[in-house]
């Protein structure tokens, strides 16, 4: 629903214009990666990518394809800026976070380019709000060089079973150990907490396991604090793909269906704990 309150001049100056009839299609996805205040927005002809990083060890990406938007106009090949994600989410939810049946907030996101703020036009029930959020110099996101040729182990699971395991994980454990193997125990999550250790084993023949491709036995430990942010994404998703490469880097990809049934992806990269050799 294009807002007619803008002048035609502005239209020509915007390098990026993206519209959504339901702002929740964007805000719900972004909530899953809000573990840090700042995010880098990258817009390409394919759509919008939002990146959040933590201490160079964890990176989360949200992909919202062009098809999700009712309007997506890009004047340049690549538009990128950094913005305060918490503030952006507050603005997207400015009419109240709770979903009221039958009503939705419409969004028009506009950006004039380097140095300009991101302008949001939000409308609900005839009330229009205009938000201008300052943008910052975008930091170069880490390139973990995770490519499919280096992938050693890959499983695709239905999120339901993994949700249960993650909700029960022993939080007194500093690390989560993930073992993937072509032989028993196939796919195992282990914690080492105060009262003892616990293992969650997923059999490769389980009906929750949609794909099982493991070429070698790998055991890696990841800091629990780095994996916690991904539980929000897990809660939204219906399927998850877990991959490790030869360095033990963990890649989790979550398939999320939004309110309109369209598919978006969330991706997390996590570095393993290095084993320190005892002298």
């Amino acid at each position: 629903m294009p807002l007619s309150t803008q002048s035609q001049d502005d239209e020509e100056h915007y390098v990026l214009v993206a519209s959504l009839d339901n702002a929740r299609n964007l805000s719900n996805i972004l909530k899953a990666i809000t573990f840090k205040d700042h995010a880098v927005f990258t817009a390409t002809p394919n759509g919008l990518k939002v990146t959040v990083e933590d201490s160079k060890c964890l990176q989360a990406n949200a992909f919202i394809q062009t098809e999700i938007f009712q309007e997506f106009t890009l004047k340049e090949d690549l538009v990128t800026f950094q913005i305060n994600l918490t503030v952006l989410l507050d603005c997207l939810n400015i009419f109240g976070g709770n979903a009221v049946a039958g009503t939705s907030t419409a969004l028009r996101m506009c950006y004039k380019g380097y140095g300009y703020p991101l302008t949001l036009f939000l409308e609900e029930g005839g009330v229009v709000t205009v938000c201008k959020i300052n943008t910052q110099e975008p930091e170069e996101p880490m390139d973990f060089e995770f490519c499919s040729t280096n992938v050693t182990n890959k499983v695709i699971l239905q999120s339901e079973s993994l949700k249960e395991a993650f909700s029960e994980l022993d939080m007194t454990s500093d690390v989560l150990q993930i073992t993937m193997s072509p032989s028993q125990p196939y796919f195992r999550l282990s914690t080492f907490g105060n009262s003892g250790n616990a293992h969650y084993d997923y059999s490769k023949d389980s009906d929750m396991m949609e794909l099982f491709q493991c070429t070698m036995t790998q055991t890696n430990r990841y800091k629990m604090s780095l994996l916690k942010p991904s539980t929000k994404a897990l809660a939204l998703s219906c399927k998850v793909s877990v991959r490790t490469d030869n360095r033990g880097l963990l890649s989790q990809q979550y398939l999320v269906r939004n309110d309109d049934g369209q598919i978006c992806f969330l991706e997390f990269y996590c570095c393993p704990d290095e084993e320190v050799e005892e002298e």
Binding site: S161, A165, E168, P185, G196, S206, M208
Partner: protein, 403 residues
């Protein structure tokens, strides 16, 4: 030790562990010949020094599916409960079988939950050896006995605020009254400002109602509620047994698979008696009671049995076998003057026990409380063997005995 729990029993086991965890953080598990006992024992003290509330909950699970229980395993282990059975709702839907195994070589207690969709959850819990705990109580000798459907009791306690600590139950031949217990702390002012709630239950609301000694007992409500939650969810009738104030009230649920007993201490009317309210002493007293004249009022108890206790405990002043025996009524007067000393000796007894424990013995570390609570009445001292104690029936098993 290994045992397997299947199907709906897994949920019952989980509920039992959850209800025990309301009492304390640690769970004591003891394999026995015919099953596994899960205990919890804790002592709460409220502000007044007279209120010592001892709680002991005991669930015995019959062995299921051809369990292989190593009955010679006499140690009791202490584990951090709760981590294994987190969410009761999902348990019901997903867990098919639970396998429990104790591996002594690795010092591990392993719970293996076989769930749907090929998911296997394994919890390896570390444990500590601890002394065998035996709460001594005898439901059969209790004079007042009741059994009711859990719904009746749940509806009754629902009328009391969740913050209420203690409740008083008064019984007569035909009725039971339940009211909140208000402490009479600073004169009568507290009592007059507090809201008093009293409910009356007729005997026909109970499945079984036997009152031989009408009186009142006051005990902790929180643990009572914990048991009721378990009983109601498993739809098991709750049985209640008690004698009189000062002696514990036993709440019990049972079905084919398990027997659960919650032993709650009750407030004693006589403040001086409550100073001596230590479990081993109580069990000793109840033993002697069997030999004493029938149903003596609390005051006589002080005179009849106190001296025997003092004689038994006193290793230095004992003048020989001739002074032993429960029926020395000549000691009525000196008895009261001995009370402070006896109190002191009680504490000495516990200190002695504790010191002995620390004497580089092989036994696992005990808390002082536990050695008072469940241990033998008599300190394991060679001097005691000269005392004529063989005539008295001992309910508490000496922790040194191989059972």
């Amino acid at each position: 030790m290994q045992c397997v729990v299947t199907g709906g029993n897994v949920k019952v086991l989980a509920k039992a562990i959850h209800s025990l965890s309301r009492i304390g953080d640690e769970l004591y598990v003891e394999p026995q010949e015919d099953g596994v006992s899960c205990f919890d024992a804790v002592r709460n003290t409220s502000t007044s020094s007279y209120h010592h509330v001892y709680i002991f909950a005991y669930f015995l699970f019959a062995s299921t599916n051809g369990a292989d229980l190593n009955a010679s395993l006499s140690c009791t282990i202490k584990v951090d409960s709760q981590s294994v059975f987190r969410s009761l709702a999902t348990l019901e839907k997903t867990v098919e079988k639970c396998h429990i195994e104790l591996n002594e070589q690795k010092d591990r207690l392993t719970f293996t939950l076989h769930c749907k969709h090929g998911l296997l959850k394994t919890h390896n819990l570390s444990y500590q050896d601890s002394e065998s705990l035996q709460a001594v109580f005898n439901k059969d000798t209790c004079t007042n006995e009741f059994r009711a459907q859990p719904r009746v009791l749940v509806d009754t306690v629902a009328h009391f605020p969740p913050s209420l600590e203690e409740v008083t139950v008064t019984v007569s031949d035909e009725r039971m009254w339940v009211r909140n217990h208000v402490e009479d702390e600073t004169g009568n002012t507290t009592r007059s400002k507090a809201m008093l709630t009293e409910l009356c239950l007729a005997s026909d609301e109970f499945d079984h109602f036997v009152v031989k000694t009408p009186n009142s007992v006051t005990f902790c409500l929180k643990e009572f509620r914990g048991l009721l939650v378990f009983a109601e969810s498993s739809n098991l009738p709750v049985s209640m047994y008690f004698d009189e104030p000062g002696s514990p009230v036993v709440l019990s649920v049972t079905d084919g698979v398990l027997e659960g007993n919650f032993v709650l201490a009750t407030l004693s009317d006589d403040p001086i008696t409550s100073l001596f309210f230590l479990f081993p002493f109580w069990t000793f007293w109840s033993t002697l009671r069997a030999h004493a004249p029938p149903s003596p009022p609390p005051d006589d108890f002080m005179n009849d049995d106190m001296d025997s206790y003092l004689i038994a405990m006193d290793t230095s002043v004992a003048s020989g076998p001739s002074t032993a025996g429960p029926s020395a009524s000549t000691l009525t007067d000196p008895c009261t003057s001995k009370l402070p000393e006896a109190n002191h000796r009680t504490r000495t007894h516990s200190e002695e026990e504790e010191e002995e424990m620390e004497d580089g013995s092989e036994r696992p570390p005990n808390k002082k409380f536990r050695s008072l609570f469940f241990g033998s009445v008599f300190p394991p001292s060679p001097k005691m063997s000269t005392q004529p104690v063989t005539t008295q029936e001992v309910l508490a098993s000496d922790s040194e005995d191989e059972s």
